[in-house]
């Protein structure tokens, strides 16, 4: 019997042998299309604005069913697109940000959409304004600090990144890793620009100093913000450690804290010139995916006033629609400073140098 089993296994393997070792690395961008069906498949991380109710509304109004392929974050979306490039599984990619977009474009992973768009805030269109991706939300990544902890320890809010390498900050900072977290990646990108303008040390030397100053490096934003940061909602969560008084989050995170905390927060965003990053998230049609009309319908739905203007409450990000801002309710807007000078690194440069930066960052920090 076992012989029969092995023979059958071999027979099963045999037709597969032709499938192995036939990979191509890069080719010219050819826009491919697949047949339309009544299901729209979206590859995304967990966009919280898209609840069952919202999706049902889209289905009711257009007749398209929605299916989601979930990844961990924006990086996961890019990786899924790269892995399934030869047989795309999704029609729409939702959540690639401007640190990943150029790589997706370079690898021919996206295709032009033909959705009719409303007036979009020029700031949201600044990193990319072509027809291969449409911004649907945006925000600024910057350092957040626990003002209460600083007060208790007679410290002041830092005004430069260099201050964080001092003794009083030893073991008191938490950073999500740029290799596995998109806010982490955005902040690391900002440090490149910040130190290039300082002309005194380069960013990787600073990161090395931070590692020597016992900075905590985590794989994701959640671990840094929920487990380690002492100034956020993490204090209410199981497993909170609270050993970091400063972390990387969004400049409007204290605003969200205040919004849900009855206009009260001990967290403050720090506006240091060129040490924040303007992050824009995109919806993009997948090259080789199907349901072109469903993709266009969904992009239009996502950018409709009804959905997009609610981004601050439902997705904790800014709306991209012109004239929209954060709500004033419970101090949301008040506790959300807009950086005066965010970093200015082009998406092209990010694409060209990101792999090297990540390698250097890992060398410097000896972290993941």
């Amino acid at each position: 019997m076992i012989r029969c089993s092995l023979i059958l296994s071999v027979l099963l393997f045999a037709p597969l042998s032709g499938c192995l070792s036939q990979y191509t690395i890069a080719d010219e961008c050819v826009i491919r299309t697949s047949a339309d069906d009544k299901t729209l498949t979206i590859v995304t991380y967990d966009i919280i604005a898209l609840s069952d109710e919202v999706l049902q509304e889209f289905t009711n109004s257009t007749g398209y069913q929605i299916e989601m392929i979930r990844t961990d974050d924006a990086g996961g979306i890019l990786e899924q697109l790269l892995l399934t490039k030869e047989a795309p599984q999704a029609d729409l990619a939702l959540g690639l940000d401007n640190t990943y977009l150029q790589t997706a474009l370079e690898n021919c992973l996206l295709a032009p959409h033909s959705a009719s768009l409303p007036n979009i805030n020029p700031q949201a269109l600044a990193p990319y304004s072509g027809d291969m991706a449409v911004p649907f939300d945006h925000g600024y990544v910057c350092l957040n600090v626990d003002t209460q902890a600083l007060e208790e320890n007679n410290m002041t809010v830092p005004t430069t990144l260099e201050e964080l390498t001092g003794e009083q900050w030893k073991g008191k900072t938490a950073f999500p890793s740029p290799t596995t977290s998109s806010p982490g990646r955005a902040f690391m990108t900002a440090t490149i620009d910040y130190f290039e303008r300082q002309n005194e040390m380069n960013a990787m030397e600073w990161w090395e100093d931070m590692a020597e100053n016992d900075a905590i490096f985590t794989t994701g934003w959640s671990e840094a913000y929920e487990i380690h940061y002492s100034g956020g909602y993490g204090v209410w969560e199981e497993g909170h450690i609270g050993d970091a008084w400063l972390t990387v989050s969004y400049c409007h995170s204290p605003g969200v804290e205040a919004f849900f905390g009855g206009n009260s927060t001990i967290s403050q965003a720090i506006d240091i010139d060129y040490a924040s990053f303007h992050q824009v998230e995109y919806a993009a049609k997948v090259n080789g995916g199907g349901s072109a009309s469903a993709v266009d319908a969904f992009i239009a739905f996502l950018l409709s006033d009804q959905i997009n203007s609610n981004m601050p409450e439902n997705n904790y990000m800014y709306s991209v629609l012109e004239g929209q801002d954060l709500p004033e309710t419970d101090g949301y807007r008040h506790h959300s400073p807009v950086p005066s000078l965010p970093s200015e690194i082009s998406t092209e440069r990010i694409d060209e140098e990101m792999e090297d930066w990540l390698m250097d960052w890992r060398q410097a920090t000896r972290a993941l």
Partner: protein
């Protein structure tokens, strides 16, 4: 010939289910890295955390297995020796942690060790490492020792069921006259000598099997490490966090190298361990005669105070994190007044599906559908694989039997990332349409549960007296009639337990690393828990909703185990 071919098809199917994804994954990673799997092992130290992860993986797995034995053996002894009221419920309670989704287990454990939690109020601060734990930490000079202790305790909690399931049946079915006879000998007078010269040889194989399986599950631990010891890395955790970028030509080749080397090293270590466990289990089946467990229990009588206290403590230990989880679903923080209130708001939202792509009733329906599919597939595959191994043993083809036996347990040795990558690449190449097939999650669920079905059925098949089959032949029964009228009734208890176990595992299986995870119409309860837990928790009901969903999941699993306990026989030992 027809029957042989009929049996061969499911076995070939099962082997293909394991080997095809593996082949695809290895082929792709070799292509991307330009090195073979063994070369990749030698390059693991190039990853900044590679060497530390290997050391920590081995150290924590060995310590976890030892600690689980130390705490589990007395419990197995008390359970096996004495007559207990409602033993089915006690066993189900002690087994429940083993099928708890790890993210839920981690949350329950965090509730136990948090500031103001049960252990904290006893002066044991494992999270912030202050007081007693802080002193211990500086005394032994190991950084994050509080986190490591929390992780080891969680592994004990998780794997206690393995020790009980392997060892307790052996104790409860050993004829008491053996021990009585040994007591008459001069060497049998002292308790120590009886333990060393009587009980150890009798229980050795079960204890070692339990050790090996606990080692395996701790070795591949991921979610518990991530939540309880956030600064430490096991190989599996490292591969799971980085693995999304594996297998992409020209993109983050270092990740492909890590996954290829890490998965090969892990596979080799775990295959070796599984081969050992398989050998010990085979020895165990042929060693000694057994009696019914009721006979021994009646013989030794009711437990003393120490045993009662021990079992009570173990049950509390097993259920505490889960009970805390239920509390967390109705204890809501009030952000505006820095206080808590009691409310069923989270349950209401969970059942309506306000924060998720599916509601609890929808996800429960999906979970049950997949669990039922998994039950059918894994019981069928497991039965035929066990039958094949048994037939080979009967034909004295021991080595071949051993080979198939180890191969059948391969899913337990494979890294989830490796299988996930292989399944993705395999389906993309062979049959991409399969991705939109509703029943797809049944395949990875069945891959995970079939090894347990084999482990349950194989010892039972070995114990069936071949005289029954011969009698059937004399009566003129065909092979089919002998199977239906003789074998199936004799295997019924094990089949029922295997079915319940398959369903319970499937219900709790998260499976994110196994397949391209789809959400919406496909969401199961554990997927829903993960979906909610991974969201920013500014809104006060986010975590309670996750806990409410997890509570529904736990209740379903507990129910299945109580049912299984009614059918379980306690011959030999095994899961």
């Amino acid at each position: 010939m027809k029957a042989t071919l009929g049996r061969s098809v499911p076995v070939a199917l099962y082997l293909s289910m394991i080997l095809v994804p593996l082949l695809f994954a290895v082929d792709r990673l070799v292509f991307v890295t330009g090195m073979n799997p063994f070369q990749a092992i030698l390059h693991l130290d190039e990853h900044p955390l590679g060497t530390d992860a290997i050391t920590f993986t081995f150290a924590q797995a060995i310590l976890s297995a030892l600690l689980t034995l130390i705490l589990g053996l007395p419990i197995a002894w008390w359970l096996g020796r004495y007559e207990w009221k409602r033993i089915g419920i006690i066993r189900a309670a002690l087994t429940l942690p083993f099928v708890t989704p790890t993210v839920v287990a981690a949350m329950g454990f965090l509730a136990l060790i948090k500031e103001g939690g049960l252990l904290y109020s006893m002066g044991i601060d494992l999270r912030h490492e202050t007081g007693l734990i802080g002193e211990l930490s500086s005394m032994i000079g190991i950084e994050y020792s509080g986190h490591i202790i929390a992780l080891l305790l969680a592994h004990v909690w998780f794997n206690l069921a393995l020790v009980i399931r392997f060892v307790e049946p052996k104790i409860s079915t050993l004829p008491p006259r053996y021990e009585d006879a040994f007591r008459m000998l001069p060497a049998g007078h002292s308790r120590w000598n009886r333990a060393l010269y009587f009980w150890w040889p009798m229980l050795k194989t079960s204890i070692l099997s339990a050790f090996v399986f606990t080692f395996i599950f701790s070795f591949t631990s991921f979610a518990l490490v991530r939540w309880l010891a956030p600064n430490m890395w096991t190989l599996e955790a490292l591969m799971a966090v980085e693995g999304g970028a594996a297998g992409i030509p020209g993109y983050r080749v270092d990740v492909s190298q890590l996954v290829l080397g890490g998965a090969t090293l892990q596979g080799l270590v775990l295959l070796g361990a599984l081969a050992l466990a398989g050998r010990w289990q085979r020895q165990q089946s042929n060693e000694i005669e057994l009696v019914s467990e009721g006979y021994l229990r009646g013989y030794t009588g009711t437990p003393g105070k120490g045993a009662r206290l021990g079992i009570f403590a173990a049950t509390v230990f097993a259920l505490a994190p889960l009970v805390l989880m239920v509390f967390s679903s109705i204890r809501i923080r009030d952000r505006t007044s820095d206080s808590y209130r009691w409310s069923f708001d989270a349950w209401d939202r969970a059942f309506k599906g306000d924060l998720t792509y599916a509601s609890v009733p929808e996800a429960l329906t999906n979970s049950l559908a997949y669990a039922f599919g998994c039950l059918v597939l894994s019981c069928l595959l497991g039965f035929f694989v066990a039958q094949t191994i048994h037939a080979l043993e009967e034909q004295n083809k021991t080595r071949l039997a051993q080979f198939v036996d180890v191969l059948s347990m391969l899913p337990l040795a494979l890294s989830g990332v490796m299988v996930g990558l292989g399944v993705l690449l395999g389906i993309l190449k062979i049959w991409p349409v399969m991705f939109s097939w509703y029943a797809l999650p049944i395949l990875p669920h069945a891959m995970l549960t079939t090894p347990f079905v084999v482990r349950l059925l194989l010892p039972a098949m070995r114990e069936i007296d071949s005289d029954y089959d011969d009698a059937g032949r004399i009566l003129g029964y065909s092979a089919y009639q002998r199977f239906v009228r003789i074998k199936l009734p004799l295997l019924k208890p094990q089949l029922v337990v295997a079915a319940a176990l398959s369903m319970a595992f499937s219900l709790g299986e998260f499976g994110a690393s196994w397949i391209l995870l789809r959400s919406g119409a496909w969401d199961t309860l554990p997927v829903l828990v993960d979906q909610v837990m991974s969201r920013p928790k500014y809104f006060e009901l986010v975590e309670p909703i996750a806990m409410a969903i997890a509570t529904v999941l736990m209740c379903m699993t507990f129910l299945l185990f109580v049912i299984a306990e009614r059918f379980r026989t306690h011959q030999g030992g095994g899961f």
